[in-house]
Symmetry: C2
Subunit: 326 residues, 2 copies
């Protein structure tokens, strides 16, 4: 299929062409890579008219059920919903958190929804990049609510927070001595916190968890954007708390548009995407150069043996940089 | 003074030669830079026999008083104490958090102590690098307890956490609705938390603050190194809690040596110092190249106007990289 045809198809909202575009984006073939850049330049002016929502949470918190239910809720509100995923673990296993589509059976069959499992890639940076590009393609195809899911492993939360407008953390209705297991650093990335599975017998515990989380949040300093992180009780299974969550999203976007953080954040994200591609390229160049690899190994050994300081060793690397960009 | 002479002096523990070495490290002259690398290579085999303690806390928490008192406490225990500082704000004002030595009058006059105000520099990376190098010099001169202070502003806590063995956060005895103002991300960097100013009338509030902080910590997931972050009541003014803090430090270092995290952390820090110097150099090269600057400005404009995707724009930058490393 020609690029022009894919572009036209995507812009007309064709799911088949969108799938084709994402396959091109995810391809590892050099010629496909060049094509995908052409494609992205053509569709980027039509992207961006969406709310980009990141969702994370520890295994067992009920992310899939929540995303399926909330996705359908958004469709009821008139949104076209795309679900993407960042899953660094899928690189190793070949599996994927969204690979098992039956987990979101109803949503995946809905004509107003588009679900794409996590892209594979050698590095988190590579996977993240493909997800960003897929997000652009979904938006160009008219999807105006993008949910980016990630499992709570490694640095993927940071990668997701760097590609969305609002970051949601799902927690368990655990309180007191029960472990909540919030990964270090993830609390600070979160704009909205949901205590999920707050149904039935869990309700009281969930309320206690909510107040404990609110106490913990109160210790943190005021955010630059003036937003106060709300803690909301939800149940993906029983479909409650969605109105509260949606209201918080609306309030968040209202504030961010009013104080100009929405536009500023997106622009700085786009620039950081650009620079992270350049960084990745430089790193790849440095580490794949045979002569450089020898120097690095030798330098690292010297550092470990304390035969040279990290500072002078860095100078050796710097002196050799010109050879790899010839 | 010749490098050989400085090296000999530093290794003999001469304060005058140590001061000279650090002046060389902090110099911005190109020839001094080369000399300082030679110096560092010569002294690095004699460095590392110390405990490196990072200390941060919001303004008003009593850091200076605490560091002075605790520094003297360490000297009583037989340590030689060096106090360094990372203060990004000093870049603008020309001032420095440790510049006012009278704040640590007793410690600064002590023959077993060496206090050095924050280095100046154009970037946090530059200041951090000079502080790391000064740390190496202090160790080579026989200082075996290095306290690195930082004000709670910007990314300086991350820079300090990346150069020390153990990171201590000082908090106010505030509880309940009073603001604690913990900067986002700093809690996760902390190995030991002190509720300072826990003297006299503050004691009850400090105890309450301690239990609230402990609750917040309990929500976080278990650390890889198996350490449980303790919360300790201290008073820099009344010099109490030091035994508890010191016992925690000993326990921390014991665990880290036993599980091999101590050595692993230092090695990975050294390698990351090396790479951050290479990164800084590449960034500097890219941004100081006139032709590249034009391309960047043009590319960024295209991204903002959505005339091109960040992805294809990155390719343009990448294609031009070779020109700047010639």
């Amino acid at each position: 299929m020609q690029i022009d045809e894919i572009v036209k198809g995507v812009l007309s909202g064709s799911r088949r062409h969108l799938a084709k575009a994402i396959t091109l984006i995810e391809s590892r073939r050099e010629e496909d890579f060049r094509k995908s850049l052409k494609l992205l330049d053509a569709i980027v002016p039509y992207s961006g008219n969406s709310i980009r929502i990141g969702i994370t949470g520890t295994p067992g918190v009920g992310k899939s059920t929540f995303i399926e239910s909330f996705g359908l809720y958004l469709i009821d509100k008139g949104y076209k919903v795309a679900v993407l995923a960042i899953d660094p673990s899928s690189q190793k296993t070949g599996g994927s958190i969204l690979g098992d589509k039956t987990r979101m059976e109803e949503l995946s069959r809905h004509e107003m929804a588009f679900i794409r499992p996590s892209a594979s890639g050698k590095t988190l940076g590579g996977v993240a990049r493909k997800t960003r590009e897929s997000m652009i393609a979904c938006e160009a195809a008219g999807y105006n609510a993008i949910l980016v899911e990630t499992v709570g492993v490694g640095q993927s939360e940071v990668a997701v927070a760097d590609m969305v407008d609002v970051f949601t953390l799902l927690l368990l209705p655990n309180s007191g001595d029960e472990l909540q297991g919030i990964k270090r650093g993830v609390m600070e990335l979160s704009d909205i916190i949901l205590v999920n599975k707050a149904e039935d017998d869990n309700l009281d515990k969930a309320k206690l968890a909510k107040s404990q989380i609110e106490n913990a949040l109160m210790m943190l300093s005021q955010r630059d954007d003036g937003w106060n992180v709300p803690v909301i009780l939800t149940s993906g299974l029983k479909k409650f708390g969605f109105d509260d969550y949606f209201a918080s999203l609306v309030e968040f976007f209202d504030l961010m548009r009013k104080n100009d953080f929405f536009q500023k954040k997106r622009q700085s994200q786009y620039l950081s995407w650009m620079w992270s591609m350049v960084d990745d390229y430089i790193k790849e160049k440095i580490h794949s150069d045979k002569h450089m690899k020898e120097i690095i190994d030798n330098c690292q050994e010297k550092i470990v043996l304390k035969e040279a300081s990290p500072f002078s060793v860095a100078e050796i690397l710097i002196d050799n940089l010109k050879n790899i960009f010839e």
